[in-house]
Subunit: 288 residues, 2 copies
């Protein structure tokens, strides 16, 4: 099954990410339908050509599921697992299902177990986003400079892995990679969840309203992601708790070490840390 | 003394900041001279019209100092104090001297004491910068979206404070404010020095070279300033040690609290933190 064919793609959950997938897939000629709890969301998406059709009604949803040639779960992690359990019976045999969830170990095995031989779930994490949410803010240009991770388990076929990599390319991601669920969760705890914890803590550790006339770019950069969807991120933190705590402990230990070097006036050790951070960050400089 | 007059401005130390001041002041018609240790720097600056004249030779420097109508110290903090002590005798009586240093309490009083009634030192902190250094990278466009802080003491005259505010406006800063040295140092420990400590620690706490294909914008944003001039920043940290340690302790305590809330699955308390950080960050959203 190739992405360029005119297939029926069903998107479950039409928020920022589901809407951005819809826009990209509709442009290449897929027939895009969507299920969402909100009638306003579905109406907006149809009126603005984000999707071809959609529903917020459970009975209609069954019909959409039955005719879907592939399904994209764009739900919060727990909701994705629940949705599969509740709707498995309506899914066409043998189709492929993927997702957009930011945590993996805690849901991938559960979804694959729930599906059994019915259909193949191949997980993916599109590492793109915005500080805003909702289909009204959806925009597939957010994929352009971002990375896309395919997250297979031992149960996945080569064909499904290729299909999922192909999806990442079609959506316009800058780079498509493959990681195991466990590798993914360690990585995401470090580069995404820890960074959000830092941004939030930097903003909450001190009353700073009167400081806004004095901030430079560095403070703005470090706190951009401190505007945060509290429901989604609290769930993501909970579902990736052990890897996140490990990365937080690494970081807290490291900045405590730096604090003590400053307290001890150990200039040479401080400079060594700065030289290491400069060398490492230089390799990240390009987005490519 | 108005900035629009054709006065002789002497810039001491022609790096990124000194060079950027020079470009802006030359454009409005000042005669700009510079003293720097490096012959290459002076040659580059003259050939590229950054300055009108300059020298790296001590004997010539005395002549430049003698004819300066005002002086801008664009040196590291300790070097600024030393320079005043060593060159006080050549300075024209009654002129105004300002600086670009990122720490204040530790140098402002020392410089004012060293000058006595000879000339008036009014401190300022241009909160602009780049991850690069040297006159070759100088560019007064870095002032456009940035803040400029005038940092007077009880010894400063109203006229000198106004003169210094006027300089910030002429250089093109977005906003000019006034803080005491102690207020400045607390503020800068939080919004600038702590953020650099965080960026460095995030980069050094874990070997992350193989992660560069998986990073999103958040990790890039939080580590942009992890490329750091280790000599300058180690000196800045040392000279603002007590305020910096206080802010680091606030932050380490706060992120440790968040870590423990995650460990305890206290979702409501985590969401409260996120709501607070979102509300606070929203007020910082605009650069204006």
């Amino acid at each position: 099954m190739e992405w360029i064919n005119k297939q029926n793609v069903l998107i479950v959950g039409l928020g920022l990410m589901g809407g951005s997938y819809a826009r990209a897939l509709k442009r290449i000629g897929c027939h895009v339908s969507a299920i969402d709890r909100s009638e306003d969301t579905i109406r907006f998406a149809i009126e603005n050509d984000v999707i071809d059709e959609g529903t917020c009604k459970n009975d209609d949803a069954k019909d959409f599921i039955k005719k879907a040639d592939c399904i994209i779960l764009a739900l919060y992690p727990n909701a994705a697992v629940e949705w599969i359990k509740n709707n498995k019976e309506y899914i066409k045999d043998g189709i492929r299902i993927t997702d957009v969830t930011g945590v993996k170990s805690c849901i991938v095995y559960a979804i694959q177990d729930a599906l059994g031989d019915k259909a193949e779930f191949i997980a993916a994490h599109p590492m793109a986003g915005k500080e805003t949410s909702g289909v009204e803010c959806s925009d597939d240009r957010i994929f352009r400079d971002a990375n896309y991770i395919v997250v297979p388990t031992d149960k996945n076929t080569e064909e499904a892995i290729l299909w999922c990599e192909n999806l990442g390319q079609i959506l316009g991601f800058n780079k498509v990679s493959i990681l195991s669920p466990e590798e993914h969760d360690e990585m995401i705890a470090y580069v995404s969840q820890l960074t959000h914890c830092i941004a939030v803590s930097l903003m909450t550790c001190k009353d700073n309203e009167h400081l806004k006339d004095y901030t430079g770019d560095s403070f703005r950069d470090l706190t951009r992601i401190a505007r945060i969807n509290e429901n989604m991120w609290t769930e993501l933190f909970h579902m990736n708790k052990e890897p996140l705590l490990k990365e937080m402990d690494l970081f807290i230990n490291e900045i405590t070490n730096l604090r003590n070097l400053i307290a001890d006036d150990d200039s040479e050790a401080i400079k060594d840390k700065m030289r290491l951070s400069t060398a490492r960050r230089s390799k990240f400089n390009s987005k490519k």
